[in-house]
Symmetry: none
Subunit: 224 residues, 2 copies
DNA sequence: GCGCTTTTTTAAGCAAACCTTAAGTAGCCA
DNA sequence: TGGCTACTTAAGGTTTGCTTAAAAAAGCGC
């Protein structure tokens, strides 16, 4: 699947490109409206992700309109910093197929991309388990054995990410980019702090530890 | 199940498409009468949802009439902004099978869609219960034990939504999109206020509380 | 339609929970 | 040991949820 990303903020563009490539999409990036329009109308993409606010003679909305006029019907996911109803309307009226307000978490973007590309609904397990630890993504319940564990939002998000990637070390950068907003500027230390919180709740008081540090490579959760 | 939605207001069209897709329907959208008529008569749909007021040489009513003349008998749910008896008659006379006045809550549309598609009476229970609390979706009666409880419209809608999703936390955004009209622009605080009203009526004066806050994840109703 | 009541929504203040940072400590490996 | 990485603790700033009151909107009887 080929995706065109039109986004002028380099940092964000690179982060998104990387994340999308990790999901095995082929990603081209364009940094302004003119170039973006040219690429969108000449190359065959399966999806365009377009930022509303971009430099050049076209802004995001105008790129979409021009594209549609040129009879290019590739689905478009519009990114914008504003979230008012009026903006939402303008965005969807212009021909965008979906709409995402910044800042968003990477997981959210990936979900929308999957939806627009109508990927087979992956086998999204409801209940993740590692050893005697279980996490229910519908009820948000977490249990170790028969003991229910209360987690905060961030703790839950971190644990879910680690459990979805169980068995392999996840470095702090990838944890940050998946659990926090794409442009959140949190320190690696924040992850360390959350790992401590998590350990307090899921590992302290239990003899077999599940959350392991792999020095230099990150954290992994594993039953062993 | 495949649904064709003929609706020119993009914002509404997208909102409905998304909601229907969440219920696992395949949804095509057409934005005017001519295109809509063409699609309705060439593609095999299980249901058409048609807005009365749409641009093009056909309006909604005329699309239905033309469809029927072309011997296409797909059920039709007609949407309209007007709610007078005269309109209702005209609408149903033209060959529509059901009729919904805008603005409506999402839940109402979904219920009608299910009815028209004659989906197995899945979780369409008339009486919902949680512990000793019961809610009759037909008579609108709500009781806690033997005590009858008077609720306002919004309170009732909120309670029904929570009871249909009992056991799991529902965040404010999803509550808003299911309990309020699709184009309502209410604040999360509104939900908080309604939760307080509901608690006053169903939980205060009772020792076991049913409506729980799950910080960061939403509200859930549960017996335990 | 006009006032009155009821319902719905917004606003603002407060408390508690949560998130993040900073700074110091401990542990690992050359 | 020195340098780096990870761990720990505590403190502040921010966010979230609760509550109250009042404004706005919708219903209702006349």
């Amino acid at each position: 699947m080929r995706i065109l990303l039109i986004e002028d903020e380099h940092k964000i563009a690179q982060a998104l490109k990387k994340a999308l490539e990790q999901e095995n999409y082929a990603v081209d990036v364009s940094y302004d409206g003119d170039d973006g329009y040219a690429m969108a109308t000449t190359e065959p993409y399966d999806l365009n992700i377009i930022d509303w606010m971009i430099p050049g003679s076209y802004n995001g909305i105008e790129v979409i309109k021009a594209m549609r006029q040129a009879k290019v019907h590739t689905p478009v996911l519009l990114l914008t910093a504003k979230g008012t109803t009026a903006d939402r309307t303008t965005g969807l009226d212009s021909g965008a197929d979906d709409y995402l307000v910044k800042p968003f978490a990477l997981e959210e973007l990936l979900a929308r991309v999957r939806a627009l590309l109508r990927r087979p609904v992956e086998v999204q397990q409801t209940i993740l388990t590692v050893g005697d630890l279980s996490l229910n993504t519908v009820t948000f319940e977490v249990k170790r054995g028969s003991k229910t564990i209360e987690l905060t939002g961030k703790e839950f998000a971190l644990l879910e990410y680690l459990m979805r990637n169980q068995g392999r070390p996840n470095n702090k950068d990838s944890i940050i980019s998946h659990v926090w907003d794409y442009n959140a500027d949190v320190l690696p230390n924040t992850v360390e702090v959350y790992v401590k919180y998590l350990r307090q709740k899921i590992d302290d008081n239990f003899s077999t530890k599940l959350l392991h540090t792999v020095r230099g490579f990150g954290y992994k959760i594993e039953a062993k």
